[in-house]
């Protein structure tokens, strides 16, 4: 793998801007796309990537981001369906090698596994951590008791 990757991030909310700031800081080439220009205020002053204002469900916007050259693509908007659509377009039409989509609804996650889109479901991840915390707490309490 090259040291510097070309990474396109759709959605510059809390997650998108956080990823953009961190990845830019370690030297990757970043493009962030958001339909709301104000969200770019969340980018840190030393963010050195590009910003595109536009709706990523429109092909023209993705072309503008030079998706053909991208190594990694993140879809992190607040709309599950937006993320799923742009992730499929990035993977299947622009052949981006690594595509990740955030999907809040765990039921939707399953179906997109079938379509070859790698998804991360914050709801499922958080639920798992809660359950693990409870389990480890109980285990610790059990050890104390026995």
């Amino acid at each position: 793998m090259r040291n510097s990757l070309y990474i396109v991030i759709v959605g510059c909310g809390r997650l998108g801007s956080h990823l953009a700031n961190q990845l830019s800081r370690v030297g990757h080439a970043i493009v962030v796309i958001d339909s709301n220009e104000e969200t770019f205020n969340d980018l840190s002053p030393d963010f050195s990537g590009f910003r595109i204002v536009g709706d990523a469900t429109q092909m023209a916007v993705l072309k503008q981001a030079k998706l053909k050259r991208a190594d990694v693509f993140f879809a992190t908007t607040h709309g599950d369906n937006v993320n799923l659509m742009v992730a499929q377009v990035a993977r299947k039409l622009f052949n981006v090698p690594h595509v990740l989509a955030r999907v809040f609804d765990p039921r939707r996650e399953q179906i997109y596994d079938q379509l070859g889109v790698e998804t991360i479901c914050p709801t499922a991840v958080a639920a798992e951590m809660f359950l693990m915390a409870v389990a480890s707490h109980r285990a610790a309490a059990g050890e104390v008791k026995s």
């Binding site: 742009v86 299947k92 039409l93 939707r108 179906i111 079938q114």
Partner: protein
């Protein structure tokens, strides 16, 4: 036939009225509670209130035994996901998505979902009805990369009375069929064209105007 429709507004309303009049069973999925009440009162269709890109809502609407799912919401991403869910999770045999952005029609097809763009359809209707009187039919095929145009030649046409081989056509254009007194002929170079002939042309959007001009001449 059972048709599931996700969407809103007048298009949905009139389509549903049209389908129920034909005897189809129609189920509407709409997110807006107020519009749902209104639709349920006015139409003889089952109305389900909710997000059609949610599998539980599709199930509630009876996607299992639907013959067709039609997604015509104003959001392309929703239309795509609704159709993919319907076909993958519920094995609906035919799904159709509206592409609000005409570019998305092609993208949806590539992602395995049949799609249409009203912009394309209305655009070609306007060209067909309003541009030239001689055009009686214009149909874009191959996602709009090819036009099939039917024109009628009149006496003023610069090609009337000429042999096909003497007509200079732009590249990538073809006279596919000539219909003379209801008799279709697939013409060769030694066929002639006469006023009153109906000619079916294959053109590309980039040479369409030039080809038409060759057959109809300059007109105001």
């Amino acid at each position: 036939m059972k048709v599931l429709m996700a969407g809103r507004g007048k298009t949905l309303y009139f389509l549903c009225r049209n389908f129920t009049a034909k005897g189809y069973t129609v189920v509407i999925i709409n997110r807006d509670r107020e519009e749902c009440v209104h639709l349920a009162r006015q139409l003889s269709a089952l109305v389900v209130c909710g997000d059609a890109s949610d599998a539980t809502i599709l199930k509630e609407a009876g996607a299992m035994d639907a013959d067709v799912v039609l997604a015509i919401t104003p959001n392309d991403q929703d239309n795509l996901v609704i159709c993919q869910l319907a076909s993958i999770q519920f094995n609906v045999p035919r799904v159709l998505a509206l592409a609000n952005d005409p570019d998305n029609a092609e993208i949806f097809e590539k992602l395995g979902v049949s799609a249409f763009s009203t912009t394309h359809i209305v655009g070609s209707l306007i060209e067909q009805r309003a541009s030239l009187e001689q055009i009686i039919n214009l149909m874009p095929v191959g996602e709009g990369r090819v036009n099939v145009t039917e024109i009628i030649l009149d006496a003023d046409s610069p090609v009337s009375g000429k042999l096909l081989k003497d007509i200079i056509l732009p590249k990538n254009a073809l006279v596919a069929v000539v219909i003379r007194s209801n008799q279709p002929i697939v013409p060769r170079g030694d066929n002639d064209l006469l006023a009153g002939d109906r000619v079916v042309l294959i053109t590309l959007p980039e040479n369409h105007g030039a080809v038409l001009k060759a057959f109809t001449g300059e007109r105001k």
